[in-house]
């Protein structure tokens, strides 16, 4: 399908229900992405291994009619729909099932793209040439321009960059890639302490490992090398940093805009460097958070599209957020410099 505003930087928004798709169309998303979790998957794995990075409950579309309706609505509004099949790893049996699912999604259901991270799944898709775009998930951990070239050689049309890159590294990566490939970056929500692409834990087992009580080992460091107050301060800093990564305790600022990791200040740079799309993270987020997130991103994107300078966009983003205490801290920024 022909997409609206083909040359403009796009907003990619998450949906986990038909109602959310309607909301995204209303508030001006340019692309939708979702997860699907058909009941057969759970029959095979017993709920112990999710079909993608997020929980089947609340973060995924779980019935065929629901998926079909989201795609219909999106296409009616001129928006493509991308489906995340981005668990960090699939077994060979899992990939056989996923290929059937991908064929159904691409054929009968008419989705536009698959978001993939597992290399063996990617290699299998590359052999088949399904009528869908392939996007590399942030879990693909593409950290340099030559890696982008590698993934492009496997048929990847868009690389979604991981959270843990500096702004200058993004610029180098985007401008250094030799093959034709699009780039997407995270705009808002859901930080992560570890590099998702190299994290071999699963959120199935009691939530994200990074938000569990893994700091126990640090306390013992006071036994050698560090003074007690250094350890205590270090732990306090870490707790604070993790609070920011966890969307500031899933909070909102006074006017109802969501707190949490963001890259709004950098949107002008992203436009200038040729980034194709910015992603609102959080398929599992509440309807209210998804709505407010889209409104916030859309407001800044409008500034970007009117041609304001990167510096003006950054000023607007901070003013709109109106949380100088958080923005000044730095922990809420994706892609900050050292």
């Amino acid at each position: 399908m022909a997409w609206a505003g083909a040359n403009e930087m796009k907003i990619v928004a998450p949906v986990a229900s038909v109602r959310e798709a309607e909301m995204c169309l209303h508030f001006g998303a340019d692309e939708l992405y979702c997860g699907v979790s058909p009941p057969e998957w759970e029959e095979h794995f017993g709920g112990g291994w999710w079909i993608n990075r997020r929980s089947p409950q609340g973060a995924n579309l779980v019935s065929w009619p629901e998926i079909r309706e989201v795609v219909r609505l999106a296409h009616q509004g001129g928006l493509p729909v991308h489906v995340a099949l981005n668990a960090p790893y699939y077994t060979e049996g899992g990939i056989r099932y996923l290929m059937k699912l991908a064929e159904k999604l691409a054929g009968d259901l008419g989705i536009d793209g698959l978001i993939v991270s597992d290399l063996n799944f990617l290699l299998t898709l590359a052999e088949r040439s399904l009528p869908v775009r392939i996007h590399l998930s942030s879990l693909g951990a593409c950290l340099n321009s030559r890696a982008a070239d590698f993934f492009a050689s496997l048929g990847v049309r868009r690389v979604i960059l991981p959270r843990h890159l500096r702004l200058s590294e993004i610029r180098g990566l985007v401008t250094g890639a030799r093959r034709e490939v699009e780039f997407e970056v995270f705009a808002l929500n859901d930080g992560c302490y570890f590099e998702e692409g190299f994290c071999q834990t699963t959120h199935v087992l009691g939530g994200p490992f990074c938000l569990s009580n893994w700091q126990r080992g640090i306390r013992r460091t006071e036994r050698a090398g560090l003074a007690r107050d250094e350890v205590e301060q270090g732990l306090e800093d870490l707790r604070e940093y993790l609070w920011y990564q966890n969307n500031c305790g899933s909070s909102f600022q006074g006017q109802g805009l969501p707190n949490g990791p963001c890259s709004l200040c950098w949107f002008g740079h992203f436009r200038d460097w040729g980034i194709t799309a910015v992603k609102i993270v959080g398929r599992e987020a509440s309807f209210a958070r998804k709505t407010a997130s889209l409104q916030l991103v859309k407001a800044i994107m409008e500034e970007v599209r009117t041609g304001k300078s990167a510096e003006e966009v950054a000023r607007s983003a901070r003013a709109l957020r109106d949380t100088p205490e958080h923005c000044g801290k730095g922990y809420m920024c994706y892609f900050r410099e050292s």
């Binding site: 095979h44 112990g48 950290l143 070239d149 250094g176 087992l205 050292s338």
Partner: protein, 302 residues
Amino acid sequence: MEIALHLRSPGQVESFEGVPAHLTALYEPGTLSGIEKILPLRVRRLYAGDEFCPNRLPSPKELEELLDLAASKKWAVSLLTPPLTDEGLDRCLPLFEQLRSFHHAAEVVVNDWGVLLALQERVPGLTVGIGRLLNKGFKDPRLQDPERFARHSQEAKELLNQCTFDSPLFQERAARLGVRRLERDLLPYGKPRVALFERLGVSVYAPFGYFTTGRVCWAASVHRPSGKKFSLGGPCDRLCERLPLGFDRSESGLATLQNGNSFFYLYPQALLASFLRWARRRRVRLVYQGLAIAPHGVGRGE
């Protein structure tokens, strides 16, 4: 079985004779098929570098010292490399050149597809292995009852026993890319045997498997000023190399530990002993990382 030893500095070779004591501090004496006795005698290869953090790569001088050590011992050399940004890759290229001048067939272990491409393009000729960060599988230490999990279905059982490198599709692609070796951990809930391949060598790291890592590092942040903590690429005083390590006990009973920006599980005794019995007469390389990851030994946790 070929045995390789991962060292961070030539000085660690003095600890080399302490390897048996190091191992018996982690495991009950006499339970590892005598590996603690044969390990120091059979080392044929030195591993340098680091697969998790660019700040732990050797400086050119440090690498030179390690290469001198390897030459004096008549050991072959492998250089571990972490995932790298473009900038990090540029900084790493001189190390590759240095390695090639040491021996034209020296080995580099890559944990990043871009590093593989850059290496082949800019420093051709070096032997290349793919490292364990590119080998995905189920490693979460919080799985409470693996046996119950595996009983659910054949697929669930496969999940605990398979990894990226086991796929013929992957092996074919790796071979086509000029890769000569695949390097992996033992999966914490998997079988002690690993798949061997006709065209690709196989290495297994011991005694720790890794389960998560990232570019953000608590240890690197401790001495940074407020506002600069938990940022990427800033100065690092390598505090991680001086800190003592302690085990925690996960929900599954696995002993886990943190070192710098990475988390590891200690192979259960039965898993490692069984692997060693199986591997002894097979074409497998054992990479002993005890000295590199836990140079001062490991204390028992709370």
